[in-house]
């Protein structure tokens, strides 16, 4: 393996660039290599095209570049869609979003896996989480019928302050376990087990607070890189033949040393020394692959009778002759052996993995049988044999899930899908199926705190972004000129509580009202709460004899989503003001009640 830092500076002078010579777990390095790969484009190779939508509330860039990097290495052309920061729910709920305009081959959903960490109620918190997730999933599933949905689970966190000595699972472990088993129990999608990957790599790899803070990411850049790598390996499984057979070399692969020189009982295999133990472990590993259902075969350049003695005479050999389905031991070139094995076992060359410690043999096989996958072992480091095989990812498989059955057209699954279609033909019927209950009323004293919290924390659906402390809010309520309304919402899954606050200034003499503040929690986007609330305000104003409602949108970095909300609610824009805040002013008079299709109960 070559030093990456050296390459970074000196690659201009490198002529024969071989990407496979490098360790690819360094994200920075890969970003630079991607540019090189792009310039090496070979247009004559016809590449398989795939498209991926990655949905999340965090910044996932530059994962799009990592995806392209690993896809290119696998000879795939990839198109990646990432939603804007913090717009996971909106992207899924918005019928016009790019997610639905294009039909992506894969949708990778990385949901917000935070739950209310109120321990007394862990079960309920997990239930809430689950129903919210199911809602998103069912929306995606009904609108993206051709996409494969993959959902990531929760990684262990960094913040468990208790340390490793405890009698029971810590709080964090319990939460991670509950959420992950809840995700695992869902059969409408495939699980991307981030926790498994993260556990293998360790917290110091997965998290990088500098990077996370600088770009609002959830993970370190290197972890994003690994996720891209794993994801592409998963995608590849859909286009490649699953591997059925492993063709193994003998000397320095299944045992140490040459059997022809040393004799069957003298090769390194067993418990005598470190080398022999390394080969023993490798044999155990190969046997476990056979037990998983893979066929084993031998391709070795040796005297057959001498080589086979190891399996017959050396009791340290865990692998026995009968474990191999085909045996080719002679001095002919190995590509001929492999060809013969493929014919004997009646399997395609593309379902064969050839493992050898001799780079020349590997090279000759590659030249003559490009369909065969190969793994090169290093005979000086037999302790790394297992890792080399695992890292190749060639033997990864997908476990069949119900989702697969659905894709392959199982009758039952189709039946289930039809049912979903009937239930959710459109947004309205979906919303109706939620059995939502809504209530808009003047703020109650017990709700002051929640109302103030919403006013101060809401960034996206916030028309004016005027922050108010609890005390200011209390003063405002006492003021006759102002009315503060709260909106609460519940559905058949959960009670969302207060999700919106409106502060209305009213002049009953001049007969106008002004919407001073309007915030709505992003959890309640896309549920026609806006329309309902506005109807309530219309009715309230009409009752007071007010016939003009003024309103205003003050632009911030985060509230673009509501820049036109008043137009949608029947207001008209009054004047273009070129103030530095890019505010927009609206008014409504002679309002008509907005149609909310009876979606609330």
């Amino acid at each position: 393996m070559k030093s990456k830092d050296m390459i970074l500076i000196d690659y201009e002078n490198e002529q024969n660039f071989q990407i496979n010579d490098y360790d690819l777990s360094d994200g920075l390095f890969n970003l630079i290599m991607l540019k090189r790969l792009r310039s090496f484009e070979t247009p004559d190779i016809k590449k398989k095209k795939i498209s991926v939508a990655l949905l999340s509330n965090y910044t996932q860039r530059p994962i799009d570049e990592f995806l392209e990097f690993f896809a290119t290495l696998q000879k795939l052309e990839i198109d990646v869609f990432l939603n804007e920061f913090g717009t996971l729910n909106q992207t899924i709920l918005d019928l016009d979003s790019e997610l639905y305009q294009k039909q992506f081959d894969y949708i990778l959903l990385m949901p917000d896996l935070k739950i209310d960490e109120n321990l007394f109620d862990l079960e309920e918190s997990v239930d809430n989480f689950n129903s919210e997730l199911s809602e998103l999933i069912s929306l995606i599933n009904q609108r993206c019928k051709k996409s494969q949905l993959i959902v990531s689970n929760k990684c262990f966190t960094y913040s468990d302050s208790i340390g490793p000595f405890k009698n029971d699972y810590g709080v964090h472990d319990t939460i991670v376990n509950s959420i992950n088993s809840c995700i695992r129990s869902n059969d409408n999608f495939e699980v991307f087990d981030l926790n498994y990957i993260a556990s293998n790599l360790g917290a110091s790899f997965v998290y990088d607070t500098s990077f996370q803070l600088r770009v609002s990411s959830q993970f370190s850049m290197n972890f994003l890189n690994v996720l891209a790598k794993e994801f592409i390996h998963r995608v590849v499984l859909d286009y490649q033949q699953p591997k059925k057979c492993i063709v193994l070399d003998l000397d320095n692969t299944l045992w140490g040393g040459e059997v022809g020189d040393r004799g069957a009982l003298e090769v390194d295999l067993g418990n005598e020394n470190l080398e022999s133990r390394a080969y023993l472990y490798f044999q155990q590993f190969i046997l476990s692959l056979k037990n998983r259902g893979l066929l084993l075969a031998i391709s070795s350049k040796n005297e057959e009778s001498v080589a086979l003695e190891v399996f017959k005479e050396n009791t340290n050999s865990i692998l026995k002759l009968e474990d191999f389905s085909a045996i080719q031991i002679h001095w002919e070139p190995k590509f001929k052996s492999i060809h013969a094995i493929s014919q004997k076992l009646n399997i395609g060359l593309d379902s064969i993995v050839f493992i050898d410690d001799n780079p020349m043999e590997i090279d000759i096989v590659k030249q003559n049988l490009p369909e065969v996958s190969t793994i090169l072992l290093d005979k000086d480091f037999p302790e790394l044999h297992i890792k080399k095989v695992l890292d190749s990812k060639l033997l990864n498989i997908r476990l069949l899930t119900k989702e697969d059955l659905q894709k392959t057209g199982s009758y039952k699954a189709q039946e289930k899908r039809k049912k979903l279609q009937v239930n959710f033909k459109d947004m309205n019927s979906y919303l109706k199926s939620l059995s939502m209950k809504i209530l808009c009323q003047e703020v109650q004293e017990s709700d002051f705190e929640r109302a103030s919290q919403l006013i101060n924390k809401t960034n996206q659906f916030n028309l004016t972004t005027i922050r108010r402390s609890l005390f200011e809010l209390k003063d405002l309520v006492k003021d006759q000129k102002f009315k503060v309304f709260t909106v609460s919402l519940s559905d058949r899954f959960e009670n969302l509580g207060i999700i919106s606050v409106v502060i209305l200034e009213i002049d009953t003499v001049q007969r106008w009202a002004r919407i001073d503040t309007w915030v709505l929690s992003c959890r309640a986007f896309g549920r026609m709460v806006e329309q309902y609330t506005m109807n309530h305000l219309f009715a309230y104003c009409s009752e007071l004899g007010v016939n003009l409602i003024k309103s205003k949108y003050i632009k911030t970095e985060k509230n673009m989503i509501v820049s036109d909300i008043y137009l949608k609610l029947g207001f008209e824009e009054v004047e273009k003001v070129n103030d530095p805040y890019e505010s927009k002013f609206f008014r409504a008079s002679d309002w008509k009640m907005l149609d909310i299709n009876d979606i609330f109960e």
Binding site: L28, L31, I32, R61, M221
Partner: protein, 77 residues
């Protein structure tokens, strides 16, 4: 030397882009130098020169001149 190393980092990171490497070079001169690439650039610089920028510096290092100055200051200490 330091300038040469930094220039190479720029050439690696913004390959296929046309720009002239000088003190005034900033994000507006290179199309792909966006906020994310800025963070990546600083990570690369941190790694290569074995220094660490503070969050404030991340925000304020706007052109090559700033960057060189910061690297010089940091490498001394």
């Amino acid at each position: 030397m330091m300038e040469k190393d930094l220039e190479k980092i720029f050439k690696n990171l913004f390959e296929n882009e046309k720009f002239e490497f000088n003190e005034n070079l900033s994000a507006k001169d290179i199309a792909s130098w966006d906020s994310l690439r800025h963070v990546v650039l600083l990570m690369e610089v941190e790694k290569f020169f074995k220094i660490k920028f503070t969050l404030k510096e991340v925000r304020n290092l706007n052109n090559v001149g700033d960057l060189l100055q910061a690297i010089k200051a940091k490498s001394k200490s």
